[in-house]
């Protein structure tokens, strides 16, 4: 048996549809092995999503995420009277202040580490953030 590219794709689809975890095909002594993952390995259903690691590139959305290095409260401006540090569409350079995360009455300025464009602001002003929460998406043009 020889597999071609289309057959391989179909195999992968079948694997998914049949809820298998493993297909083994060997050529000469012709060994074929298909395995299904045992059902019960899964955990209680009150799941929450794991926090994203800082600055993760995701295949489906372009760009880099800036995540919170602290637990605290997210502020887009230095004070209620000031303008926001950045807006969507702004070009930023490394070192540019993006926001403040307040923890224990300390105002921690979060700076950009890369050059790019603010594509999305993911947290509302004044809202609490956890460690690792995504704050901004930055597109590197």
């Amino acid at each position: 048996m020889k597999l071609n590219w289309d057959q391989l794709r179909e195999l992968i689809q079948l694997l998914d549809e049949a809820n298998l975890t493993e297909i083994e095909v060997k050529q000469d002594d012709q060994r074929i092995r298909l395995r299904r993952e045992p059902a019960a390995a899964q955990a209680p259903s009150v799941a929450t999503d794991p926090a994203e690691p800082a600055a993760t590139a995701e295949p489906q959305t372009k760009g880099i995420f800036v995540t919170s290095p602290f637990v605290g409260t997210f502020y887009r401006a230095a004070s209620p009277d000031d303008d926001a540090f950045v807006e969507v569409g702004d070009r930023i350079a490394p070192g540019a202040v993006l926001c403040i995360v307040e923890a224990m009455k300390l105002m921690n300025e979060i700076e950009a580490e890369i050059e790019g464009e603010i594509a999305e602001i993911l947290v509302e002003n004044g809202k609490p953030v956890e460690y690792g929460d995504r704050l901004f998406r930055i597109e590197i043009a």
Binding site: A40, A41, Q42, A43, P44, V46, A47, T48, D49, P50, A51, P53, F70, V71, G72, T73, E102, A103, M104, L106, P128, V129, E130, Y131, G132, D133
Partner: protein
């Protein structure tokens, strides 16, 4: 009453606190590191906040992150559990400064008992029997003089140590000269405090400890003792209540002495006074742990109380509420600490728990922070479950623990269950001939 309590811990003790909160109608906030996003304490709390990466120094020991988590969730109070920040007076102080009630003793009390040399002096001044020992040894020659005056064999101890850490048994002057400098560097590295002192060595001691509760109204209760003699390298692995080594008279004398002493210090919250018992049956003060202990459930079972619920009540400013004014232990309780470790080499064994079937039935309590499918992380304490039994007599409790261990199945990781089985089957254990050297002497 508190509306919301943040639990600054993980694993079984985080769940233990969560349970008493939920039973009291208090909402809970879990804090967790990234790897603990799917941990049971994270899942079961009303709210969960990720406070940092896996390294405990950047998460569970990260004071600003924990305080910020309490602030953004609007928690009223923080329960520190045991370990991590439970005995950190700065943390307790920071809580107070930020308007958060620390569920535990005052920062002053934590500090008072935290230094082992000072706590010995304090205990002595409070009328507690203290093991013969020395002042701090300032240098090598001073150390030799002090140890010789005390008389070999001695135990060289770090003033900043505790819980069995920073201890060396020294048989001779030569041995002392060989280890003194290294012990000092070790103490400085481990505890940030290089001070060393000596105590008389008790060759085959029992570890006996008394549970106390104090409230802001000046009430102090001594809730009996626990025998925690079965240890491996000073880490307790089996605990029981009551201790068969205490006569009713000694138990009651000790309770009076301790009550008087703790009343004098105005102690608040749960605490444990640890003693060593020598071969003649006399008890000498070892240390005071100003927090809830791992082995508290054996006291709860024989006394019919909820120590964590009392800690919460006390922190709310309420008086201690016991089912009867003079509680006496009812029956006998034993706890086995089930650790994710090789039962022979004691090497840690983190990994995914593929099967998790704990014992059940009458007189069996399980306190655990894991579940089938959970991956035990390598970063923290290897305790995966506490198996605790309660029976009318010690013999019944032993029989119950044997059958409970026999029906407990944890797959995917190695655990010390086989070691527990061997200890529980050992005639010396059955007969109560135990000391902290049990594992060395019997190698069950």
């Amino acid at each position: 009453m508190f509306e919301k309590v943040l639990i600054a811990n993980r694993g079984e003790i985080a769940l233990r606190v969560l349970r008493s909160c939920h039973e009291r109608g208090v909402r809970t906030v879990a804090v967790h590191s990234e790897i603990d996003t799917e941990a049971l304490h994270t899942r079961l709390a009303d709210e969960a906040i990720c406070i940092g990466p896996d390294d405990p120094r950047r998460s569970y020991l990260n004071i600003p992150a924990i305080i910020a988590a309490a602030e953004i969730t609007g928690a009223d109070a923080i329960h520190p559990g045991y370990g991590f920040l439970a005995e950190n007076p700065e943390f307790a102080e920071t809580c107070a400064q930020c308007g958060l009630k620390f569920i535990g003793p005052t920062p002053g009390q934590i500090r008072q008992w935290g230094d082992k040399v000072k706590s010995r002096a304090l205990a002595r001044s409070l009328g507690l029997p203290v093991l013969e020992g020395t002042e701090l040894a300032t240098n090598m020659d001073d150390a030799v003089d002090k140890a010789t005056a005390l008389g070999f064999p001695v135990v060289l101890k770090a003033s900043g140590g505790g819980g069995g850490r920073g201890m060396h048994v020294i048989q001779t002057e030569e041995q002392l000269r060989a280890v003194f400098q290294a012990a000092r560097s070790e103490a400085r590295a481990a505890f940030g405090n290089e001070e060393l002192y000596f105590e008389k060595l008790i060759e085959r001691p029992r570890h006996v400890e008394f549970q106390i509760l104090g409230d802001e109204h000046g009430n102090i209760h001594v809730l009996g003792e626990r025998d925690c003699s079965i240890q491996r390298r000073h880490q307790k692995i089996i605990e029981e209540a009551p201790s068969i080594a205490l006569s009713d008279e000694l138990r009651s004398d000790m309770a009076s002495t301790i009550r008087r002493a703790m009343k004098e210090t105005g102690y608040v919250s749960a605490g444990t006074l640890e003693f060593l018992m020598d071969e003649t049956g006399s008890l000498t003060f070892l240390e005071m742990n100003p927090r809830i202990q791992v082995e508290h459930p054996v006291t709860e079972l024989v006394m019919g109380i909820d120590l964590v619920a009392e800690q919460i009540r006390i922190a709310e400013g309420l008086p201690i509420e016991l089912p009867a004014p003079n509680l006496a232990p009812r029956g006998h309780a034993i706890e086995c600490r089930i650790n994710a470790e090789d039962p022979d080499t004691f090497a840690p064994s983190p990994g995914t728990i593929t099967e998790f079937h704990m014992a059940g039935g009458t007189g069996v309590r399980v306190d655990s922070g894991v579940y089938g499918g959970w991956r035990v992380p390598p970063h923290y304490d290897p305790l995966v479950a506490k198996l605790i039994v309660h029976g009318p007599t010690r013999a019944h409790a032993i029989a119950k623990m044997r059958r409970s261990l026999a029906e407990t199945i944890i797959g995917g990781i190695r655990t010390n269950i086989p070691l527990h089985r061997r200890i529980l089957e050992h005639p010396a254990f059955e007969e109560g001939r135990i000391s902290t050297r049990f594992l060395d002497e019997f190698s069950p």
